[in-house]
Symmetry: D4
Subunit: 210 residues, 8 copies
């Protein structure tokens, strides 16, 4: 696989047939993990059904919550990531991040629902966060959680803005701009709702130390 | 004065002569406070110099830090406001808020430099904040401080975004959108850099209870 | 309940099951009001159906117009709010504000359909408005009603921009920016279509005086 | 002159020499009014100085407040316009509109400083406004004055947003969008700060009836 | 009717029942025209069906192309408007303008499909346009037609940007900004897709001369 | 020179010393034309003064109007471009385009001041335009000229939006979006004020046929 | 056909009946190619069904992938274009470009799936690209492919941004702005997703040399 | 120092006196590095002059190119970063990144002027880049360099958009959006022009492995 990372197929805009063909080609051409991202339940099951009878291919795994298909996930051992979410609505993005991490052999600890409007919830988990190897912070609306976590921990922090919210949230643009403007030094940011991008960045970072 | 509030002259775009004439007219037509806002040191001193020799007018006070002139500030007794800032750069907006409050007879407590990147600084002041009657939170960049304070206190919280920052801060628009999208329920927001607007809103609220 | 306010569940992005579980937990853990906001009629009825047979829970109330579910609304006595709307299209946001107020024990007076294009309609209600304790102004399109009401009354005014309109209304962004730029001093603003946010802010303000 | 309107030279980006040459050519090629717009005091005086000694040209008039030079203004008789402003800061745009009207032979009535934050000021002038032939409304910040005037009068109303204000005013864009979204039916809008454009539109309208 | 204009009900966000009730009230309270705008075929027919059996009401007319219902259209005699469109896609907006004009007693001439990419088509109609009393120009994409027509005719020109186009057209915002920035002096602009607004503005202008 | 095009140094952000050093290196390393763009008069003269005494370098030419320095301009013979401008304010961008063309050996025909508000001016030059080999259209404000020229000629048309105008012109963004949305098929667009980019694109096109 | 180009009907917003009528009129009035663009499969087949029985008309061809109908495609001989895409998702825009080219008699070479994240894929095709007559580069997300190709080849390069991507891709606006800001000199850009516009521009350029 | 990182003072908006006082306090309260960022040459020298005579303080170092003051830079040993720039104009941001790295004990390798318009320049450095421990890519205009480098290397890549460019570059916003939308998986992004932020993020990452 390119750069030692997994091979990844971006699902939107591709037919079931096209996806199955690309996945088959990738599985035969490499021996690393293969992922399909942003795929809805029905086409996902159709891709699996098309590939199941094909000889010589490993089995595929479907995670509807992460909207992903995965073949040949790597064994754990590529480090550990702590994924922090502000609220329930950020769940699907966290699932995308966690499932991608798992496929890459990265273990995941989850810290859910610690949005800053109830700072005591975050405070209760502060010690746990301070020992994290790498933190992915996922938050929508104003995205303030990233700044607070960035100030708490010395580890690398990858901030993922989500499209949660309405009105002035501007479909995630407000959280994106807020995270980029954070007063916590050394935060890094990925695209709106890109749990996938955060996991891939974590993989680049953790591989260094493995 | 209209609605029992002070009479206020917005300085930008007016000549020294125009400002002096308006102030004189307002001082003679009412007996409340009169303010000139957003006035630079030189024209401020020139306005004072023009009005000083005029018979029958009360003395004017110049606050360069607040960029204001004030005549007939009210006596204290109109309540108390706690003004919280994220960093040093938010100082001028806090000065504008504090000086306007003073002119309106509102007492001011200051909690400075408690930006969320060092959440321990805010934590150290949490008890003090929880007893506040009304809080004005002033923050730029991502404006996350407003959400955290909004979650800490049950009192009214007026959030003032500032134009502090660069790039993705978009001259205060990011902090503005973030405060409006805050996950802390019941925050209210005023215009970018409008320490004046926050103080006037505080005055509307505190008068109810006085 | 946190900060003496009601416990609130934001409906979008949660399953009926998840909402029912959270509500049950909140009802058992506190004795204050519990709200679910932005919930459509069908899931709302499904949540009620799930919780009805559960022993030891108080009955829930469904307001389809406000898109809310409420348990244990507080008794009146937490003050009074006057909710002013510009036109019929602003109705749903006003319902959200009014129903939230009711759940918090705040009484509500309604002044409907006084948009500024027919200033006589507003003029006819001016005396009533001048005696209001606190005013929530709800308007879309250009949002001018907030400025006019802000000039009429000395009480706190919370402005709620709505997404009513088309083209240059930019889904409520124009009304939002207009209200923030208002020439009426001391207006405060909440997010687009956030009747809920306005009611929560009113609760913070009124509690001070109760 | 093209279409029976005055010939107009837009000043910015042209040298004094270029402006003088164009004006001379226009004065010799037509017999209507000639205007130079958006010209600062110094270059304005320099243009006049260059053209004064030239034989056969009519005298030019300089209005520093309007930032204009005018030659051969038309005699009054082309109708009457009422120019309404919200505040002192809108003055320069009103001067540009009024001076252009005068050059086109349109008489001007001024109604100043009737911003909607003090609706009584506007109410006091309502009867006068209702008899106007055509109204130009000039307002910055949230531009609400246009909606209120549009609802008061049956005559044509031309709205001019100004760049007055700060923060969420977005250099006049907020007033522009607000005027375009107005709930008062039949308002028409011109570019930000374009007192000139409003006067030219008035001229198109009034000529029909003259 | 207010200001001698027709009474107008904005359809979106109102139930069939609400619309019928408002229309009945307006028909009984005035003797001018009554319009319902932006109403889809099915609710339009339902409103008519509800009101038909009601005694003492005049018959209503439905124009699906204009998305309007009209009662008591005025007799012609309120002047004449020339409506110019750039392309077929601008048709629905032109229908809204034309049907509103008809209801107000304004006669309409149509000049269709003269977009500037084929300037000969416009040139062929130039003489006809030059004699127009008032021109409404309706164009999407880049909206250039307004500038060219504005340069051709001396009459009032009302420009209506439409949401025709894709990508950089930004749902009509590009045409709107382009018309406001037009190099043709004295153009006035209304909201995106607002054929209604243009007709109401025309009515204000034409009434002056009638 | 890379790709057979001239070597070009972008002036802003470089010291006189840095520019002189880069130019010397380029002149010694190639035998094609060398340009410095967007350089103000003073640093331009300083660069020439630094390089003049250096042995073995060809003489440099300074065009203040184009804000460029050129060494070893190519001989004519690389085709011909017709540069069309809407108004005087577009002049500096046209100079940049024309001077770059000249340096590349492209001959230039100029058609100035044919903005669409006076369509007769453009009509008078239509035959000339129809015989052009390639047209560069330079226009600000609403940029409508590009659409009209695009409809008139069958040759390649490169549209250059300029930052001319104010308010809704948004520093050239409106003209840019308008040109991209043009109803004239097959227009291509370059960056705002980029006379340089248009000339380089012309060079790519004309070289094909030379 | 106008300017020697094909006659083109923009499908959206027109009924099947309207399209069929326009196509019939164009086929009878000219002898060049006729295209309908952006038409979905069902209406496309309906238009063909309506026109098939009509005497004297040539047969129409339907390309569902390009969303086009074509009558009387020209014979090859109008030059050759190389169409380069970044990824699978850019396919539909490439189909629109290729099918338009074919209708205009332009031959097409395809270079697919050479996005810059795997620069080796592009490197493997570099020699082929360097010999291209004219290149159309189609890319979404950040659109970086256009800059790299622009640096590789000396031929004309037309960049087409696509709406592929999510979040910060802003429906193609990011790719559009990026291509306009490209550091590769002489790139030209067309509207988002406008494979059609790119082909028409190519036709203007290639006709010069044919 | 907080989180084991250096103490950093953001210069803008602070007086020389304020900066000197804060620096003195930080130097006495910790034993780590202390930085002042974004400080112009004159105030920088004034701060040094104020602190030099103060007993017991270590000497400060001024880097005008990085616009920074540094006290007690750490010894090398905290890893190595490769800083890649697209062009000369990105130099100041690279200096800020490099000087911050040096203060934190991170060694720096520079790869300058490898913008993608001349992909051979980057190709020549590809092997060197592939062995990098961590890469900071600094590019303005369309920011395409980040995507190409992200595809070349498996190491962590931090992308820094710069405000280089004009027009559609939108002061760095285009590069920012492009980097966030990159087709190269696992890129992370910091604020516009924030060489400082990139270095702080690098420090978080490298500390893990040291
Ligand atoms: N969910 C995702 N978000 C962003 N990029 C993705 C995602 N999934 C795959 N990609 C990237 O998309 C590219 C594959 O695109 P494609 O060839 O269309 O499948 C690779 O560069 C992947 O790294
Ligand atoms: N600093 C300020 N920010 C916002 N509004 C202000 C400010 N100062 C005065 N105003 C308002 O501006 C109006 C006075 O404007 P003017 O008549 O131009 O002096 C009043 O409505 C004031 O409440
Ligand atoms: N199509 C339309 N576009 C814009 N405004 C309209 C339209 N139809 C009605 N209105 C205006 O909307 C208001 C009536 O709103 P409503 O009371 O909600 O029916 C009046 O001010 C009308 O002039
Ligand atoms: N150049 C810079 N860019 C972004 N943030 C910075 C910069 N320099 C310092 N900071 C941050 O700004 C805060 C210090 O702000 P202040 O208290 O105003 O000096 C700390 O959180 C620093 O990490
Ligand atoms: Mg959140
Ligand atoms: Mg802050
Ligand atoms: Mg409204
Ligand atoms: Mg105003
Ligand atoms: Mg059009
Ligand atoms: Mg122009
Ligand atoms: Mg791409
Ligand atoms: Mg670059």
């Amino acid at each position: 696989a390119r750069q030692g990372q997994a091979e990844v197929v971006y699902g939107p805009g591709k037919t079931v047939r096209e996806i199955a063909d690309i996945v088959e080609r990738l599985l035969r051409g490499n021996d690393g993990a293969v992922l399909v991202t942003r795929i809805e339940p029905e086409p996902a099951r159709a891709v699996l059904a098309l590939l199941e009878p094909v000889a010589g291919l490993p089995p595929g795994h479907h995670s509807p919550a992460a909207r992903q298909l995965v073949w040949r996930p790597r064994d754990p051992g590529a480090g550990r990531v702590t994924i922090v979410t502000a609220g329930t609505a950020d769940g699907p993005v966290a699932e995308e991040a966690a499932n991608t991490c798992a496929a890459l052999g990265i273990e995941v600890t989850r810290v859910n629902d610690v949005g800053v409007a109830g700072i005591h919830r975050l405070a209760a988990r502060a010690d746990e966060l301070r020992t994290a190897e790498l933190v992915i912070v996922i938050a929508g609306m104003e995205g303030a959680l990233a700044s607070v976590v960035g100030g708490l921990v010395a580890a690398p922090v990858i901030a993922v803005p989500t499209s949660t919210g309405y009105g002035a949230s501007l479909e995630g643009v407000t959280a994106l701009l807020a995270m980029l403007s954070s007063c916590a030094a050394g935060l890094v940011v990925v695209n709106i709702d890109s749990g996938f991008g955060a996991a891939m960045a974590a993989h680049r970072i953790l591989r260094k130390t493995a």
